[in-house]
Amino acid sequence: MSIDQFKYSRIPPEAEALRGDVRAILADALKDYPTIRRADSWMGFDAEFSRRLGAQGWVGMALPKAYGGGDASPFARYVVIEELLAAGAPVSAHWFADRQSGPQILHYGTDAQRDRHLPAICRGEQFFCIGMSEPNSGSDLASIKTRAVRKGEKWVINGQKVWTTNAHRSHYMIALVRTGENSKRQEGLSQFIIDLSLPGITIRPIKDLTGSEHFNEVFFDDLVVGDDAIIGTEGQGWSQVTAELAFERSGPERFLSSIALLHTLIDAVGKHPDALQAKEIGRLAARLVTLRHMSLAVTAQLAAGKNPAWEASVVKDLGAVFEQEIPELAQLLCELPPTSAGGCDHAQVLAYLTQMAPSFSLRGGTREILRGIIARGLGLR
């Protein structure tokens, strides 16, 4: 692996041309949207907003027109999603479908699966969640135990998923489960599209440390699904999941989670920063410029059909460090204690993102796992 693979790629003019419209429409749609909710970024759930974006053509926009998408370039999609995040729009409802499940179904799905899911995804009406982690399988994903057993044309699924973001308000889960017994743990895994309204599924939200409910435990008890629920090839789940992770690890959501706090910090500091404030805000801005170039370079590789797993891990790890540094610096640069009730916008956003920050280097793969992938790419393991 060589760091030369980060090739500078400019957003093409036709994609860049979208930005003005997106900004204008968002400025209007979000004009009364509270600052503290903007801090939710891609964790903010608003089904109605997702539907409006779908009607605007901004969900699943890189999917083919035949399925209700916009046939837009990955860069056009990039412009739209980074504008949504920078504005702090609530995009979580459709986010996973737009980023992962939609492309996954387009790539590996059958015609019937595409017809069933893609148009509804593009309308911003069908929401997905990602069922990878299990209680005893976090970083060690290949150790998952949830199992699907074939019974004629059907599969019976038993097991448990955990930390599944939005499971309680999604329509479908793409779950990684064990379908075969093999000597290598990475073999015999398959992905299923699971209709979460079926009997045999129990979903229990887990409160996070702020008291909010984003993620869940999901139990499968003799859940019966058809053969048509398998996505891709039986037994190829591992390679499908690892390809999917490049999409999950390289986007602007991997370095913009704390952007709302950077915004309130700049205003709290005011027009005449002292030397330390100026230095740290400038350094963060420089890092942001660079992370964005790196993320765009990975987007270009994904668009070219490559699997930039190594580069995506680099963006995700540097991005998480950046996102976590913002609350650390914010509390250091202004004498303003964080407040979770009362207080000014900045104090509230500081409180919220300080508490969210630990998750930034967990979700989507931990620091240690990412650095392991990077080290492997460098030939060290």
Binding site: A278, K279, R283, V289, L318, R371, A375, G379
Partner: protein, 351 residues
């Protein structure tokens, strides 16, 4: 164009920029053969328009060249000559062959056609015959000066690279032209920062290669030290910062044309300056005592990183400029600046 440039120079440097040559240059022995080859290749004039005697290349074409200069610890002023010649060309003056450098700091004045004052920190000053600088006068003026008649106060950076002071007393420039207003009086400082950012990026690539190769070879406790997770993760972090620096330098060069893309240059120099310290620390840690010896080549790179990160504006210097510009615009100006790659307020602050 870029690929031909890069492969030509990589071959030339592989042949001629040996450890011995670099060490000898640090000791004051000018590498004549190396410089002659570089000059014959025409690269010192690459950024000069064709009608003024150059190759008409753009900054975007030469980022790889400058990274290579960093990767090989090149002990001659090729980046400096390229920037100096670019400014001559941009001012309508002919490019010059031969040893050439530039001065960005000092108090040069031009009056009645003669230049007086001093310049400091001139890279390779004592080794070159001419330098390009900007002298204040009725209008800021780009001047090409012979250093023959100037007083020299030698100085050097941590890598033994000459960073000299010259004093000029009523010297007639070899060439002079008004500085184009679009270019701005701090063009040489910004250009110098961009060069050093790309050289650091190149040096980081070298540091990464040296370090991961060594980690794969050195055996302790019965296995290669690179198989210890603690070592792997340190090198992974080094590679992240190296990749970020490469990316930021590439963006700065790609977006610079007749003027420098100031926001991208700032970002590149800030990221590179931060990466330099991290990389040197990881590399020396992983190499153990052997890397602390004069015998081992690691220090050729790390001693350059320690100087280049401070030259033409440290992390703090550029971060403060950028931070002030952003705060002046308020939070609403941050994201538009990042996406369009320019900061309205940055101009006021930096030019």
């Amino acid at each position: 164009m870029r690929e031909i440039f890069d492969s030509t120079l990589e071959r030339l440097f592989s042949d001629l920029v040996t450890v011995d040559v670099v060490l000898a240059a640090e000791g004051g022995n000018w590498p004549t053969e190396l410089w002659q080859n570089i000059e014959e290749s025409g690269f010192t004039m690459a950024l000069v328009p064709e009608e003024l005697g150059g190759a008409g290349a753009s900054w975007a074409d030469v980022c790889g060249i400058i990274r290579l200069c960093g990767r090989f610890n090149l002990p001659v002023p090729l980046p400096e000559a390229m920037l100096a010649n670019w400014l001559l060309g941009a001012s309508g003056l002919e490019g010059v062959a031969g040893t050439l450098s530039f001065a960005s700091a000092g108090d040069l004045r031009i009056e009645n056609g003669v230049v007086s004052g001093s310049v400091t920190g001139v890279p390779w000053g004592r080794e070159v015959s001419r330098i390009v600088a900007i002298a204040q006068g009725e209008v800021p003026t780009v001047v090409l000066l012979s250093v023959e008649a100037a007083g020299l106060e030698p100085s050097a950076n941590t890598a033994g690279e000459a960073r000299d002071t010259f004093v000029f007393a009523s010297v007639k420039p070899l060439a002079a032209a008004a500085l184009p207003t679009a270019v701005g009086t701090r063009v040489l400082e910004t250009g110098g920062a961009m060069l050093r950012a790309a050289q650091i990026a190149g040096a980081l690539e070298a540091t990464l290669n040296l370090t991961s190769t060594y980690a794969g070879e050195r055996v302790q406790f019965g296995k290669a030290i690179g198989s210890f997770q603690a070592i792997q993760h340190q090198i992974a972090v080094l590679s992240e910062h190296a990749a970020a620096s490469v990316m930021a330098a590439e963006a700065a060069f790609a977006e610079s044309g007749d003027t420098f893309a100031v926001l991208q240059v700032m970002a590149a120099k800030i990221c590179a300056s931060e990466a330099a310290g991290i990389a040197a620390s990881v590399a020396h840690g992983v190499h153990g005592a052997i890397g602390f010896t004069h015998e081992h080549a690691l220090h050729l790179t790390t001693r350059r990183l320690w100087s280049w990160r401070s030259e033409y504006g440290s992390l703090t210097y550029w971060s403060q400029q950028l931070g002030r510009a952003i705060c002046a615009g308020g939070s609403g100006s941050l994201w538009p600046a990042i996406t369009c790659g320019a900061l309205a307020e940055a101009k006021e602050v930096t030019v």
